[in-house]
């Protein structure tokens, strides 16, 4: 960890950063100098303070709402992987455990990032589910989620693809907010990496859906009918009034599968909430 690099990176992403914290510039200087003397454990608090001062007080309500919506989804995903990894004999050792552990760690990091950015406006995890505990069977729909690895992967598949769609749907609401928009997209692409990898893990399972690819082909391609609504609209082939299947490709025009795979589709906040409410998201 290098705090000087962090500040440099912040300035790169947000040229106004120094201006935002200008009155406390001396304080920043002090923090960077004590960073070399004081225990590293003190730094998270210090950085959180800087971020709240720089952004926390100036976030418009609409942006706070979007970030709290994202935080709800990250809480859900984070708890899901934590529970999955803790379940006895669920996730096979080797590549599967490596992949799921990476995802678990990164979802936790997303939670921390959003909490830090939101500061005191962040919703509490305990407001979700029943005192913070989710129902990952979604009322019995996925009753074997923590006892059958294929069910676990199917739910993960739904969560990750829906997460990608959820962030994408909120992007227009962040136009003009360089810091938050860039951060949201930088989480969004990580979720897409997760989604592709979950799909590849599923393709390697003897009981997995035979034709599943790292990308979304048409509408629900997960082989699980309970995920139907998570993929509504993914079969769209018209982008910005241009029919992709009418465009030239190598031999003839772009195929329908390629046209749907090449563009991931957004979901509205309401659509996403209706998908995750059965798990306890509020």
């Amino acid at each position: 960890m290098n705090i000087f690099n962090i500040l440099e990176e912040i300035e790169k992403a947000d040229p106004d950063f120094r201006d935002r914290i200008n009155p406390r510039r001396a304080a920043i200087k002090n923090i960077t100098s004590f960073g070399s003397k004081v225990a590293v454990a003190a730094l998270p608090f210090a950085m959180g303070t800087i971020f709240q001062k720089a952004y926390g007080q100036t976030l418009p309500q609409s942006v706070t709402d979007i970030l709290n919506f994202a935080l709800k989804l990250e809480f859900l995903e984070s708890a899901f992987y934590t529970q999955g990894l803790a379940a006895k004999s669920l996730v096979p050792t080797g590549g599967d455990t490596t992949a799921i552990t990476t995802m678990s760690t990164q979802e936790k990091a997303h939670v921390v990032f959003l909490q830090t950015t939101l500061g005191s406006s962040a919703i509490l995890q305990t407001t979700q589910g029943t005192n913070g505990t989710y129902d990952f069977t979604a009322g019995g729909l996925f009753s074997t989620v923590f006892t059958n690895y294929d069910t676990f992967l199917a739910v993960a598949n739904g969560f990750e693809d829906t997460g990608v769609r959820a962030y994408k749907g909120q992007v227009p609401g962040l136009i003009g907010n360089q810091t938050v928009l860039t951060a949201a997209l930088s989480i969004h692409s990580v979720e897409a990496r997760h989604a592709a990898t979950i799909r590849q893990l599923r393709s390697l399972r003897p009981a997995g859906p035979a034709t599943i690819k790292p990308w979304i082909t048409g509408a629900n391609d997960t082989g699980n009918a309970n995920l139907f609504n998570n993929y509504v609209g993914e079969d769209n082939v018209i982008q910005d009034n241009i029919t992709i299947t009418s465009l030239n490709a190598l031999n003839g025009t772009v195929a329908v599968n390629a046209a749907t795979e090449a563009f991931d589709e957004p979901l509205t906040l309401a659509q996403v909430l209706s998908l995750v409410t059965p798990f306890g998201v509020k």
Binding site: H110, L185, L250
Partner: protein
């Protein structure tokens, strides 16, 4: 393959998918590996990459505003589409059926992206670019997959890094629809690269593209977030694989 190697075609002529690979085979091998190294450098460092000085290349500026940004995206997609077209036209030694399926899909996605931007930009579209992949040894699996990984990571970082300047909500959503697919590509290729190794599925979101996410490092505010790059950090790499020198004087 010999036939393709002597072609010089426009990148976005959809019926040809051609590119310039007119180099002698010897030179080809001399540069093999260099491409991966360059892409690797960009992929693993947060620092601005050192600009390479273009020699005898015409300069083409991307322009300003949303049109400039979409042309930037169009240039990236032209590069990727031409790359995968060549990969499938002349598959590397030992390519498996699963790898062919993945790489063919990616080729078709990039061609769809390229065709979309061309249509969306209309008369404002950048002229067709001509690729120069002489740094890449298309016969070598690792070289090709490393280059693919580099192009995909570069594309994701480029989209993530420029999106904040897009003014129009439709354009922004389109870019978001495409960037997640590029991220899927990168993950898929990275997972192919670790298949059969001692550490499968260990790189799809590793520290070369994602900020460190160890929980004892929560002080890093960008924990778990993908890196993003500005055009000034992306174009030096892009320019190594095309015959003109793209500039973005009106973009950061």
């Amino acid at each position: 393959m010999e036939k393709t190697n002597t072609q010089t075609n426009h990148l976005n002529s959809d019926d040809s998918g051609g590119q310039k690979t007119g180099m002698e085979r010897r030179t080809f091998f001399k540069y093999a590996g260099a491409g991966a190294a360059i892409l690797g450098l960009v992929g693993s460092s947060c620092k601005k990459s050192a600009g390479n000085s273009p020699v005898n290349k015409n300069t083409v500026d991307l322009g300003s505003g949303d049109t400039g940004i979409l042309n930037y995206a169009y240039a990236l997609e032209q590069l990727e589409a031409a790359f995968y077209t060549q990969v499938i036209a002349a598959p590397y030694t030992g390519i498996t059926a699963a790898e062919t399926a993945i790489l063919t899909d990616i080729r078709d996605h990039e061609i769809a992206h390229r065709a979309f931007y061309k249509a969306a930009l209309g008369s404002g579209a950048l002229a067709a670019l001509v690729a120069d992949f002489s740094q890449i040894n298309f016969a070598d699996r690792t070289n090709v997959l490393d280059a693919a990984k580099g192009f995909e990571d570069l594309g994701v970082a480029a989209y993530n890094g420029i999106a904040y300047l897009i003014q129009d909500a439709v354009n922004l959503t389109i870019v978001a629809k495409i960037v997640s697919v590029e991220a899927r590509h990168s993950a898929a290729i990275r997972n192919i690269l670790t298949t059969g190794t001692a550490s499968p599925f260990s790189t799809f979101a590793d520290a070369t593209v994602i900020q460190p996410s160890a929980l004892n490092n929560v002080a890093n505010p960008y924990n778990g977030l993908e890196v993003s790059r500005l055009p000034s950090q992306v174009l030096p790499t892009v320019n190594q694989y095309i015959t003109v020198n793209l500039t973005a004087t009106k973009l950061p």
